[in-house]
């Protein structure tokens, strides 16, 4: 469904991605894990065109995407949803307005239609009573659930999550993971950058381990966690699992 071939990206003199190839097919849930600075975010962001790779190609449903071309970028983004570590809700809009802005402007949904859909999604993430609230009145976990619902408003076929729970207080992590699990069970295709190893083990169909801009190891969660093949993955797991 999405294929990235030989992606490289350098910031100033940091090689964030070094000839990375990656693909994901429909219904798959891929968790990207790896130490800080290994290029997980950059990979996610390249898939959505938030970063433009220096070299390499990205294909969505077999079609090569040039993100510097506005039309192609828009078409590609209409298929992907992105959830950010810091939620990035629009602070000057109520939850409802956050939800309906893009569908109305971009998908030309009518207001009523958008509101109906927004209510449905808000209740799915357990926030039916918050549509009038402004983001600053919500807890971190609530904000992230709104952000997920806001992405879903655009009917994405694949969801990209960049550390969706890393900015949350520990007691709020579960509620967001629950929403993501629910999405996974409904068959959503997902790329998830996460440090929540338990979550990755439970829902991933595949683990991709990155370090220093390279994919070091790629395996099913069972095998990856029980018998990591590379020294680097072993060291990493030792650190994060004590």
């Amino acid at each position: 469904m999405i294929k990235a071939e030989h992606i490289s990206k350098t910031f100033q003199n940091v090689k964030a991605l070094d000839d990375v190839s990656f693909q994901i097919s429909k219904g798959e849930i891929v968790c990207l894990i790896g130490p800080s600075g290994s290029g997980k975010s950059t990979l996610c962001r390249c898939i959505n065109g938030l970063e433009i790779p220096d070299s390499g190609n990205i294909y969505i449903e077999g079609k090569q995407i040039d993100y510097t071309d506005q039309k192609q970028a828009a078409e590609a983004r209409s298929k992907t949803g992105f959830v950010f570590q810091h939620f990035n809700l629009f602070p000057h809009m109520s939850v409802m307005d956050n939800m309906i802005l893009a569908p109305m402007k971009t998908l030309h949904m009518s207001r009523e239609e958008a509101i109906t859909k927004a209510r449905e999604l808000l209740s799915r993430v357990g926030l039916a009573d918050k549509e009038e609230a402004y983001p600053k009145k919500l807890s971190g976990g609530q904000k992230q659930r709104v952000a997920i619902a806001r992405s879903l408003m655009m009917n994405p076929q694949i969801m990209l999550f960049d550390e969706p729970t890393s900015a949350l207080d520990p007691e709020m992590v579960m509620e967001v993971l629950e929403v993501m699990k629910q999405l996974a069970f409904e068959g959503m295709t997902m790329v998830v950058v996460t440090h929540e190893m338990g979550f990755a083990k439970e829902i991933a169909s595949r683990i991709v381990f990155l370090e220093e801009g390279k994919i070091i190891e790629e395996n099913t969660p069972d095998l990856f966690f029980s018998q990591p093949q590379t020294k680097r993955a072993q060291d990493f797991l030792k650190k994060v699992l004590y």
């Binding site: 828009a74 990035n88 629009f90 802005l101």
Partner: protein, 233 residues
């Protein structure tokens, strides 16, 4: 003339209601000049900021030229340019005598000047918006225009209100520069009055009071508005 006479003259001026009326009319002119120039400056500021933030190198260059040219030269010189040089040039080019209204050219000059400062205010308001807001709007596939219109500008606007109010207050004071080209705004009314009575103490001090009242009222209103805006955050 001794000091008693000097203050006696003051009382004479102060006891004539006509004099207050004259100054009040001057103050109204000052306020009108400042208000029109301010609005003009905001419009130019939006244009200037979109030039300076443009992808196109040439447009960015134009924006920079505007800002640097205006901010690097005295406002008085700019006013004199529009009053003394521009009409002559137009007359020479078209062959028809081109006469200007002092208030009109003065207001245009101040407006163009204010536009350069507003450009910088608006530009920094826009680039001050968290990158995550742009990215979220982009990932939701909003068009560039919708992104600016619904996400970026409303947030930038809130940040820009306080410095814009200071700009307005600055303009009320700067409008006094039009006295040098003989536009009868508040300061020049006071000067004329002083010249008539051979005593400047009361007219100039009273003009100062009028400026103070105007700037004070505006900043009080602005504080209320800002508080309101902060609440809706």
């Amino acid at each position: 003339m001794d000091i008693q006479e000097y203050f006696g003259k003051c009382l004479e001026i102060a006891s004539n209601p006509e004099n207050y009326k004259t100054l009040l009319i001057g103050a109204v002119y000052s306020l009108i000049v400042a208000s029109i120039a301010w609005v003009m400056g905001i419009v130019l500021g939006i244009i200037g900021a979109s030039l300076k933030l443009n992808k196109n190198k040439f447009l960015r260059f134009l924006g920079n030229c505007y800002v640097e040219l205006i901010r690097g030269t005295p406002m008085l010189l700019q006013i004199l340019f529009f009053y003394l040089i521009m009409p002559t040039l137009i007359t020479l080019i078209t062959g028809n005598a081109f006469r200007v209204n002092k208030f009109v050219v003065g207001t245009i000059a101040i407006g163009i000047n204010s536009g350069a400062y507003s450009t910088e205010l608006i530009r920094s308001g826009i680039i001050g918006i968290d990158a995550g807001q742009w990215e979220a709007a982009m990932s939701l596939n909003l068009s560039h225009w919708d992104m600016m219109r619904y996400v970026i500008l409303p947030q930038a606007f809130k940040q820009v209100v306080p410095p814009m109010v200071s700009e307005y207050i600055t303009l009320i004071k700067d409008s006094s520069l039009l006295s040098t080209i003989g536009a009868v705004e508040l300061l020049y009314s006071a000067q004329i009055m002083g010249a008539n009575y051979y005593n400047y103490l009361f007219p100039l001090m009273m003009a100062g009071v009028f400026y103070l009242v105007m700037t004070f009222v505006i900043s009080s209103i602005a504080k209320k508005v800002e508080r309101r805006l902060a609440e809706s955050d």
